[in-house]
Every structure is written in structure tokens, then in C-alpha cells.
Point group: D3
């Protein structure tokens, strides 16, 4: 049976394991889910240059997996290679940033984003602008923690609570998005602490891809205009 392949474009097995754990509740949908790291990727994607550089090996990985694939998820907030991969395959492809925003739009009126670094924010704003959803953005605030530092769950959660409370109380967010695949394990505790729905982007990306697969939703412009 063909599987949904989740492609983590960094090389960190810890991040990939966290993703696999996060999407486990979706096994119920009956489609196998396989998670992959990208050996050619950096340990964490922390800049636009990092993001752009992983696209070529990511596309190559997807091409190798395609014969056994029902669909793909690009599992890095920033969605590197999302539109390129959509161009190269007829299978459903979702990006976790895009899917997280779409999920959030059904859970609250203004979404807040917890980014890892200040440098991520302009990159995210460009993506939200490209998606045309800036009117729904409350704010995007950095934790000021690198991908590696996220491994310290206690410190990370404390910082997430602080930033999440600012998004809620100062900026009017009524739903939050975790702005990095590396926080996948902390969705539930953060939700409990803040009393707001929190979207984990890998879950959103996988759920949206499964929906498209089950519905055999065509995902591609077949004819040029």
C-alpha cells in the first residue's frame, strides 16, 4: 500500500522522531505514514539560504520515493520546495507552514506564531503575504532559541508559554501556531498552559495531505490557461 511520505529537510533524527510521534494519531486513517530526514540537509534550517539549499536534494528524495508514495508533506516551517515539488509530481503535496495556517484559520480569528529566531519573522511574513492571509495574523514573535536549543524541553516550554501569553494578551491572538517542526512534542502542554488552541504544523500538514489522498483530490493545474 502506498504511503504518505513526510520529508523533514534537515538531517536531525531527533526532529524526525518528534514528527513521527506527533502524527501517530493520524494512523487511524489507514494510510501508512513514513517520516524521513534529509541526510544532505543541515541539522536545522535557520535562514532563507538554508531553506533554498535543501530544495534540490529534497526534490531528488521525493523523486526516489514517488513510486511507493500516495503523497508528500514538506516538513519544515517555511515550506522549502513546496511549489517546486507540486510542479514535479501529480501526487498531493502539502507544506506544514501552509497547512498550519489553514488549520489555524478554522480555529480562531487571529493567529499568533511562535518562531524560533528573530530572523525567521520576515521570512514568515513574506509567506503569509504570498498566502494572502496577513489580515488574520495577530503577530509572529521569536523565542530566540535555535533549532538545537529546542532540545531542552523545559526551557523551551517556559519560553513558549511566555511568548504565547504575549501573543494572546498583547496582540489578540486566539489561536497559536508552532513555527518550527522541532517543537512538535510541546503542542499539548502549551495548549494546556495557555487555554488556546495550538496548531502543530506537522500534524496539520499530514492531516491535510491525508484528506487530499482520501478524496483523490486533484491537486494540480492540468491545463495551462
Amino acid at each position: 500500500m502506498k504511503a504518505l511520505h513526510i520529508l523533514n529537510p534537515n538531517s536531525s533524527a531527533t526532529v524526525t522522531d518528534g514528527i513521527a510521534e506527533a502524527v501517530r494519531p493520524l494512523d487511524a486513517a489507514g494510510i501508512p505514514i513514513r517520516c524521513h530526514s534529509l541526510p544532505e540537509g543541515p541539522p536545522g534550517i535557520e535562514s532563507q539560504a538554508d531553506a533554498d539549499r535543501v530544495v534540490a536534494p529534497l526534490l531528488a528524495l521525493a523523486r526516489r520515493l514517488e513510486p511507493e508514495a500516495a503523497g508528500f508533506v514538506v516538513a519544515c516551517f517555511g515550506d522549502p520546495g513546496l511549489h517546486a515539488l507540486r510542479h514535479e509530481t501529480a501526487l498531493p503535496v502539502t507544506g506544514i507552514q501552509e497547512a498550519a495556517v489553514l488549520h489555524a484559520l478554522s480555529l480562531g480569528q487571529r493567529f499568533g506564531v511562535l518562531s524560533i529566531l528573530a530572523a525567521s519573522v520576515p521570512r514568515h511574513l513574506r509567506s503569509f503575504g504570498a498566502m494572502g492571509v496577513l489580515d488574520r495574523l495577530a503577530a509572529d514573535l521569536p523565542l530566540n532559541l535555535g533549532v538545537a536549543e529546542l532540545a531542552d524541553a523545559g526551557r523551551t516550554l517556559a519560553r513558549m508559554e511566555e511568548v504565547g501569553a504575549a501573543l494572546r494578551d498583547t496582540h489578540g491572538a486566539d489561536v497559536l501556531i508552532l513555527g518550527c517542526a522541532g517543537m512538535a512534542r510541546l503542542r499539548r502542554p502549551l495548549e494546556d498552559r495557555l487555554g488556546l488552541p495550538v496548531v502543530e504544523p506537522c500534524q496539520a500538514g499530514a492531516a491535510l495531505a491525508l484528506s487530499h489522498i482520501l478524496l483523490t483530490q486533484s491537486h494540480k493545474v492540468l491545463h495551462a490557461r
Copy 2:
């Protein structure tokens, strides 16, 4: 086992049957899906007044079903009572208009909507404005067919192809949305004829609700700001 309840707020069994058929591929997700007509509703919802009038009986129906429910879908394009029902229950609630737009945003850059009547268009524009997604709208064009007339599938499909081609060729749409639950059976044929992805809103609404249920996604602001 608790079910996802899809609430068609009109009284037409034909429409409800079409919805049930459309969402059948989602049975694979393992959660029972039950579709209901609203006996107090009109045969078809064709105006804002129709939409507003069904909210009270719709909320009453949901309240009766809640003990056995895992979540709800409001299955009328226009999403009457969506936000009210979200206020009254802690379960996941989706609206088919909102969900269709969110699905479409992951399938193309500009969505076109096939509405039943010209009078539907301003109502839709208000909704898309409220969702903050007008920058992604190509156009919303009417079929000029009432809900009852949709029963003639041949004529309806011919008209949908004509309007869909205008959305694609004149207005630049690269994904289409069926703007009424009553066209559920015609998604696939339209997709084949136009070569564009076509979103059937009941499918999108049910798939999004199932995602929230599987992920036990909190869907509600628990604390006031």
C-alpha cells in the same frame, strides 16, 4: 463510538443523500459519519434570510446530537450558524464554505466559485472578506440555477462547465469551489472536463472536522483575553 454529524440545514433528502455519498471516501478514517436534514429548514437556502432563519433549529438539533457526537459539520455554503455553534459546544465544528476555501488555498493560487444564484455572490464576498482571503479570489460567478433546478444533473453540469471555463480563462482561477452543497455529485465530472482541481465543500468540511477530531485539536478559546 461517537460520530461526526453533518448537518444539512435544508429539508431536502436528495441534497442530504448527495452529501452522504460525497463523504463516503472518508469512512476510511474510522470515525462514523452521520448526515442529517433539518426538517424545519426550507427545501433550499437561497438568501441571507433563509440562512439566518435556520440557525435556531440547527443549534437545537446539534444540542440533541451532542451526547453522541465527536464533532459537527454545518453543510450549507454560507456556513449559517457556524460561529454560533462553535460558541455553544466544545467539540470541533467546521463549515463547508470555510473548509472549502481552506482546501482550495492548498490546491491553487486563485480560487473561483460557482454560485447558484447572482444573489449569493454578495453574501459570499462578505464571507470571504470576513475570512480575509479576498486576495486569493479569482471571481465568484452564478450558474443562475436555484437549488431545485440543480436536480437536473445534465443541464447543471453543462452550465457548470461553461461558468467554470469562464472562471479559468477570463478570471485566472486555477482551482474551483462548488458554491452549494447541492452539487456534491458533480465534482469529479467537472474536474475531468475542465482540467482543474475542483473542491466539493462537504468533502472539505468533513475532512477538516475529522482532522480536528483525530488530532483532538482544541478548537475553542478557553480563556477570554
Copy 3:
């Protein structure tokens, strides 16, 4: 002589009396103004569900009054039933939220809204999005007072001054809107304390309706597109 009928969709005579007092300066325009409570409505409309539920009896009341009516005002911030009533009558119909925003747009560059409850804010944001005026919104902040609590004018005004000052000083508002019909008596004192124009929505709604009546402004799409 036919009258302008102002329909307060809650059942509170105190609120209706406040509205009547607020619109008294408009008697000069020579058209009788009649204010009505809605016996079937709740004492105060505090949620989307409350708002949706009053539409059916509101439409019924308007239908009874229509033979003696020159126009209607829907006098609840949130404008429940506004578009439905416009669909059902050829007479001018205004909503106090819509009219208040339109008045505010001619009085300052960024409007701030004083809402009663935090739960009102997402509802308002959806309306402002549907109106397409979010670029002019400074912020919408709650007083955290229910409709019943507004009766304590001293406490309410003190809280309004505090929230209004935040709208002006932190969010850059240069005109304010009272986000509930129940604050009608407090416009002038708030204006005096804050030194900003303050729009009372019932006044705006009635003034706009009178303008349309005097100008015999057609208010309705007569032919479908």
C-alpha cells in the same frame, strides 16, 4: 406619516429608552422615529448565537411594521439580520455597526472600538473584514462588562475612559466607536474626557437611514446580474 423604525433586538426597555434619547436630535429632520424592543430577544446580545437567534423574530417584527414604515434601523452592534432584512424589504435598512464604521471613516483615519466583552472582538473583526475596512481599524478592545453591567454608568464610563485612552495612545485611534447600543448615553461624556470624536452607533444608524429616506435612495439591487 410613515416613520423610521429602530429595532432593538434585545428585550431591554432600558436599552431601548437609551436609544430613543440618543436619536432625539434627529427629530429635526421631520420624520417620526419609533424605537422598539424585541420581546422574543434576550436581555442582552452577548454572543453570535444570541445574535443569530433574534433574526427570525426581528424579521417578523419588521414585516408587521412595514406598512407604516419609511425605513428600518437594526439597533444591535453586530447587525443581526441586516442583510436578511434588506433582502425582504424595498425600504432603506441600516445597521448600527455598519453605519457607525461609515461615520467614523469620515471623522478620523483609524477607528478604535470599545466592545463589551472579549468574546465580541472576533465577531467584530469578521464584520469589519466583511466590510473591507480592516486597514482603517486601530484596535477593538473589550471593556469586560456584560450588557447588564453597563447600567452602572459611573463604573462603565470610568472603564470606557481607560480603554478609550489605550485605543488612542497605544493603538493610534483618532476616532472611537461605542461597540454596543447599551452605551448610548455615554457618548458625549466620553468625547469630553478623551478629546476624540466618539461615534454612537444608534445615532449613526438612524442618521444614515434618514439620509436614504430623504434622498429616496434606492437601496436594493433590483435586477440580478
Copy 4:
């Protein structure tokens, strides 16, 4: 008794007479209305340079009239000097372009504008952008008639019907605005021919000014932020 002064910033008595006739139904509001041409103005304002040049004499005229004034209307589509005059007087000041748009927003979902010349369109688009209402604009199309040519009512009306039909049928407008004070007499006939509400901007500007006067609406930021 103090009057509302309507300032036509061109020197054409014909245009001023048309304005006076258009606003006559507002006499019912009990406030005297006086219409003035600007002797220093050109016969018609057809460019941004024309518009900018009339501001200084317009402000001077308003200053002379202020002792006997209850408020002012700047009666040229384009609103030359509107914000300057608001800065210089504490009385209510409206502009006919701004007021026409605000009226239109309560009469339909998408407004279409009939401009006199193609060169007017970019100027209008800048204004609608400054007002933040572009999401509500259907289109702004030129009649390609200069101010002087508008005097031929038959030809003008025929051309208005043609352009208005394009705004309605091709661009989805459900309310129209006359984009020049010189078409004031033709609102009603155009409305009858097209079956859409048509806003005459001088009427809208005067009605809005009268509303502010009757409500003693403060119209000015009294304190700096």
C-alpha cells in the same frame, strides 16, 4: 441660523445650480443649505493639478464663510482641500467623494464608479486606497467626456447607461457612484434605466454633513496622540 455651505471649487454656475437642485430634498432637515461656485476655480476640474490649485482659494472662501457656517461640503469628486479644511476649522466638513463611497458601502457590496475621463481613474484609485476601501471597488470606468461636454444631458445619459451596464454586468458592481458633481441631475434617470442604486455624491456629502451637524458630532482630533 447658521447654514451648511456647499463649496463647488469650479467656477461653473451650471454645475453649482445642479448641485443646489440635487440637495433640495435635504431642506427637510431644517438647516439652510447654501451653494457656492469658486470664482478663482477653472470651469471644470479635470486633473490633479486643477484640483491642487483650487485648494488655496477654497480655504480662503471657507474662512470668509465660517462665521455664518454650521458646516462645509467640498463639492468636487476628488475632495480637493478636504483634509486641509478639516485641519483649519472645528466645524464638520465632508467631501463628496468620501461621502459617496461611504453611502455606497451601505447600499451594495461592490461599488462601480463612472468617471468623466480616463485620467481621473488613477486619481480615484489613490483616493480609494487612502480610504482603505479597494476591496469593495468593482471598477472605475471613464465616460470619456469632459466637464463641459456633460452639459449635453442626452448624450451623457446614454454614455452613462452604457458604462453603468458594463460596471454591473462585467465587473459585478451592485451600486454605482457618479464620479463628478456635474452629473447631479442624472442620478434618478440612470437608476431607473439600470435597476441599481446610484449615489449622487453631492447628495451624499450634504446628507453626511447634516448628520454630523444635527448630532453635534465632534469631527476633529482635539488632542495630539
Copy 5:
């Protein structure tokens, strides 16, 4: 050889000298640059009325200079007369506000503006709305210093640093714009203190005009639509 003429529409030689000094690095482009004060202008332009009043003499000055001109820069933040002058000449014309924003859009994702007075802010917001760039604005905050007070460079720079830090830290600006031609000498020191790119609008306006001149960029709609 024809020159680029920079028109400072106030009468302050100090401001004009500051502009001349600021644009000196552009002499390298080989086109003579001449800076002019406007004797008929006020010492500083601090309101919309001030801005509107200078347009007529500004246009007259440009007409006198045109035979020896390769292009013009309107050197007052607010761009008084910009579109009028574009209408009256076939030569390239830039405005320093417009050009500063365009430069800033290539230097950061969200621009912050340092205005001289609180009353400038709504005027700027109207311009940014007319330009359609509000989604890129972080905030526009006043120094609360008049044009004359800017002469005290020490106090002005201290206040600029304070306001600039607020734009960066509270509002998320990653590029700043000096909102008045009178701060031209302080760009570099502010950039050094804040660690953000700072755009001096006269430099941006002159550089953009030189680009158009060198490229013989047609700048004008030659045919009506």
C-alpha cells in the same frame, strides 16, 4: 547639460542646504543636481493645508525650470504636487515620500517611519494607503518636534534614537524612514546607533529620478485607456 532639480517646497535655506549635502554622493552619476527652496512656501510644512498651499507656486517654479531640466524631485515628505507635476511635464518626477518607501521595500520587510508631529501620521497613512503598501508598514510614530526644532541636532538625534528603537523593538520594523526632509543630516548617525538601515527620503528621491533619467524611462501615460 540639463540638471535634476530638487524642489524643496518650504522656504528654509537650512533645509535646502541639508538636502544638497545629503544628495552629494549622487554627483557621481554625472548629472548636475540643483536644489531650490520655494520662497512662497512656509518655513516648514506641518499640515495638509500647508502642503496643499505650496502646490501652485511649486508648479510655477517647475515650469520656469523645465527648459533646463532633466527631471524633478518634490522634496517634502508628503509629496505635495507630485501627481500634478507628473501631469504637467513629460520629464521624470519623483516624490521623496514615495521614493523613500520604495527604497525601504528593498531593504527590509516592515518599514517604520519617524514623523515630526502626531498630526503628520494620518496624512502619511493616507499616502501609504494610496500607494497600497500598508501591509509593509510596521508603524509611524511622531518625534513631536516641529520643523524648526529639528535644527537642534543633538536633541533631535536623541529623540530619533528613542522613537527608532520603539519602531524596531515594539513594532517589528527592520528598516526605518526619516519622515521629513529636515532630518537629512542625521541618517548615518541614526543607522549607526540602531543597527538598522535608515532611508533618507531626499537621497531616495534623487536616486530614483536619476535612474529614470539615465534609462530615459518614459514616466507618463501617453494614451488614455
Copy 6:
């Protein structure tokens, strides 16, 4: 003396020669300009995948050139690697798509884009959304010619005239942008035929880069927020 390096990320010497010819008028600014093809690039960039794949070699090329560089231009409409390169160097970097839009915003109110292929349009729309300038876009229409086919100048110009006329007459564009570096030689003839300003993006990108270099405009966020 350090040079401005223009990086054409495809491998076509013909395209690179066209760019060199287009930017020759900018030699007057006194800064040497060097144009480079990217040997690792495809003959033409016609998809998002093509664009993403050139980023890694493009960054490598820039790194090799940096010691002798005063700045860089990314010379492919779509701006592949623009933000990555800005992250990796402290020198000014412009992208020809971004710069073309910024130039166009100073030349007209609504810009039209001539794309090579229909598949380019959604990619462009995402970029314009990321830039926040969609309110200024008239339309983006394809020539339906691949990069290789552009070499037939006669056919290309005829098709450009046809599409440009549609942008002007049907969509209201008053300035046009050539949506591919491969049309550089055809700007002037198109401008002459259509009577509208036409922006050639390589010229705009180089001019903007030269402006930043001459002004030693810091182009980079030096401190994190």
C-alpha cells in the same frame, strides 16, 4: 574598483548579452558593471523547481565574486536566491522582479506584467503578495512563449504588443513590466507601440543596486530584534 555584478542564473549567453546591453546606459554612474551567466543553470528558468535549483550555485558564484564586488543583482524574474543572498552578504543585493515592481510603482498606478508562460503567473502572484503590492497589480498575463522562443524578436514583439494592449485596455494597466530577463531588448519598441511606460527589470535591478551603492545604503538588519 569594485563592480556591480549582475548574476543571470540561467546558462544562456544570449540572455546575458541582452542584459549587458540593457544596462549599458547605467555605465554613466561610474561603477563598473559585470554580467555573468550561471553555467550550472538551465538554459531558461521556467518553473519554481528550476528557480529553486539554481540558488545553491548562485550563492556559490556570489561568494567567489564577493571580494571584488560592490553589490549584486539577481537577474531572473522570480528573484531566486534574493533573500538568501541578502542573508549571506553585507553588500547591497537587488532582485530584478522586486526592483521592477518598485520602479513601476513610481511610473503608474496599476502595473501589468507580461509573463512568458501561464505557469509563471501563480509564482508571480505569490511574489507580489509577499511584497504586499497586489492592490497595485492590474493583471499578469502570459505570452505563452518559452525562454527559447523569445529569441524570435519579431514574433515576440508582436505577441507582447497584443498582450500589453489587453493589460492596458481590459485591465487598466498604466505601466507595464517585462516578466522575464530575456525580453530586455524589446522594452523601447514596446513602449513606442503602446504609449505606456515599460519597465525592463534588469535595468530596474541594476539602477536600484547602483543607488544603494552610491548612497552606501546599509541594506541589512544588523541586530536581531
